[in-house]
């Protein structure tokens, strides 16, 4: 199930990515008679434009040992394979390579897709991620300046109700605390070479990068455990309900003062965050595990096979996604998916942190002491307050808190 979800999420992201990077497919077989079948200037220019070309005329030209001249003919080509043909076979992964180091990647001597991945990582990925996080922060600052802090509108009662038990808060902070560290160390890893080295120098950054990598790799388990705990504790409260539509229609009441649509333990906005965190968290965990155990958990050849059979890439005009991939390509796709999903999660978590702290009066109490002001609960989670109130008292003579209030 998790793999299927991951396949879907990764597929959608990569489909978008590939649709951005998609370039015109060269059609037809060019005339290469002038070069004796070798690549032409047109081929080189096409590659430089980033166009995909059918290079089977090169990948297949790896010599033939059967054509080797006999021993009696000293001027024949040794072995029937020339140096260019040997290097071509290494480049396209068809050479019979024996290496001393272990691991599935050890036999890949030349990896053709590295430059594409590096260019994407240091270009659109970093720029897009920086814009996303910067834009989110800016939007939150603007929202605060325009809307201000969402106050408790009614008179405070002085009574509190238990919103989250200790075990719920523990799971939340286990996941949240580890995610913040993962985000910071991940950003250090991604932006280190281009941003931090020029600022702090290579020696200082080496220590920072080494520590950052160690922390990122090992703290990830705390995030995964927290994610699983949070899922099982809150999944039933986050199933969609009819009143969620009302909440969404009224913008959750956060856009206009005095508007408080009814909500259960979690409102529709929190449900959206819950499912986004669960699905993207599972996705980022799987791609993270793939990176943590290099070459042991290839995810994308199978994911692409599922996507190809779904028809999605064809629908977007990308064509069939590549199924046969080198171990390094698998890692490159994992890194890109990991970073893309992580950036989206970081942006969402920034908004979550804002509304749970400075953005809304009384919200932080839910996750610090677990006790919230009754009036706060009445305004933001009226259905839930009704529910716990009716559990506390046998008769239902007390007034209901679930009526939407407009003050």
């Amino acid at each position: 199930m998790a793999r299927a979800l991951f396949a879907f999420l990764s597929g959608v992201l990569l489909s978008l990515l590939l649709s951005l990077a998609a370039v015109a497919q060269e059609t037809g077989v060019p005339d290469r008679s002038a070069t004796g079948g070798a690549q032409t200037l047109s081929d080189i220019m096409s590659r430089q434009r980033g166009a995909q070309i059918d290079d089977s005329f090169r990948s297949g030209a790896t010599g033939n040992p059967d054509n080797a001249a006999g021993l009696v003919n000293p001027l024949g080509t040794l072995g029937g394979v020339s140096d260019p043909e040997l290097w071509r076979a290494l480049r396209y992964g068809s050479a019979d390579v024996t290496v001393s180091a272990r691991g599935p990647a050890a036999g890949v001597v030349i990896q053709n897709e590295g430059i594409w991945w590096l260019n994407f990582r240091e270009g659109p990925l970093m720029r897009g991620g920086a814009w996303l996080l910067g834009g989110t922060l800016l939007a939150l600052v603007l929202f605060y300046l325009i809307r201000g802090r969402i106050r408790i509108d009614g008179e405070k009662t002085g009574n509190t109700v238990t919103r989250f038990k200790a075990v719920e808060r523990f799971a939340h902070w286990l996941m949240g605390g580890s995610f913040i560290v993962l985000a910071l160390t991940g950003l250090i890893t991604l932006f280190g070479r281009t941003v931090l080295i020029p600022m702090f120098g290579r020696d200082s950054f080496a220590l920072l990068a080494g520590s950052s990598k160690w922390i990122h790799n090992n703290i990830s388990w705390a995030f995964i455990i927290g994610l699983i705990l949070v899922f099982f504790m809150w999944v039933l409260h986050n199933l969609p309900k009819r009143h969620d539509l009302t909440w969404l229609a009224q913008g959750g009441g956060i856009l206009k003062k005095g508007v408080h649509p009814p909500a259960g333990k979690f409102n529709a906005g929190q449900k959206l965050i819950f499912w986004t965190v669960i699905l993207l968290g599972a996705s980022v965990s799987l791609s993270g595990l793939s990176l943590l155990f290099p070459f042991e958990m290839p995810l994308f050849a199978k994911t692409f096979a599922v996507l190809n059979s779904s028809g999605l890439p064809q629908l977007f005009g990308i064509g069939d996604l590549p199924l046969a991939q080198t171990p390094h390509q698998e890692m490159q796709y994992s890194q890109i998916a990991h970073a893309l999903v992580a950036f989206v999660l970081m942006a969402i978590v920034l908004a979550h942190i804002y509304i749970g702290s400075v953005g809304m009066e009384g919200a932080i109490d839910a996750m610090s002491s677990g006790e919230v002001e009754e009036q706060w609960a009445r305004e933001h989670h009226s259905l839930w307050l009704d529910e716990i109130s009716s559990e506390d008292r046998p008769s239902d003579s007390a007034p209901s808190a679930s009526e939407p209030t407009v003050e």
Partner: protein, 42 residues
């Protein structure tokens, strides 16, 4: 607040335990890649 600090302590504990467990189980980069003719510890 106490629960939050407890969770942070648990994060530190899990982090150190995970590193120890993976190293002990032979998942270090060195152990994953060395072979009879490849030494990475010298």
């Amino acid at each position: 607040m106490k629960t939050m600090l407890l969770a942070f302590a648990a994060i530190v504990l899990i982090t150190i335990t995970a590193n120890f467990a993976l190293q002990t189980a032979g998942f270090s980069s060195q152990e994953q890649n060395l072979g009879a003719a490849v030494r990475l510890d010298q």
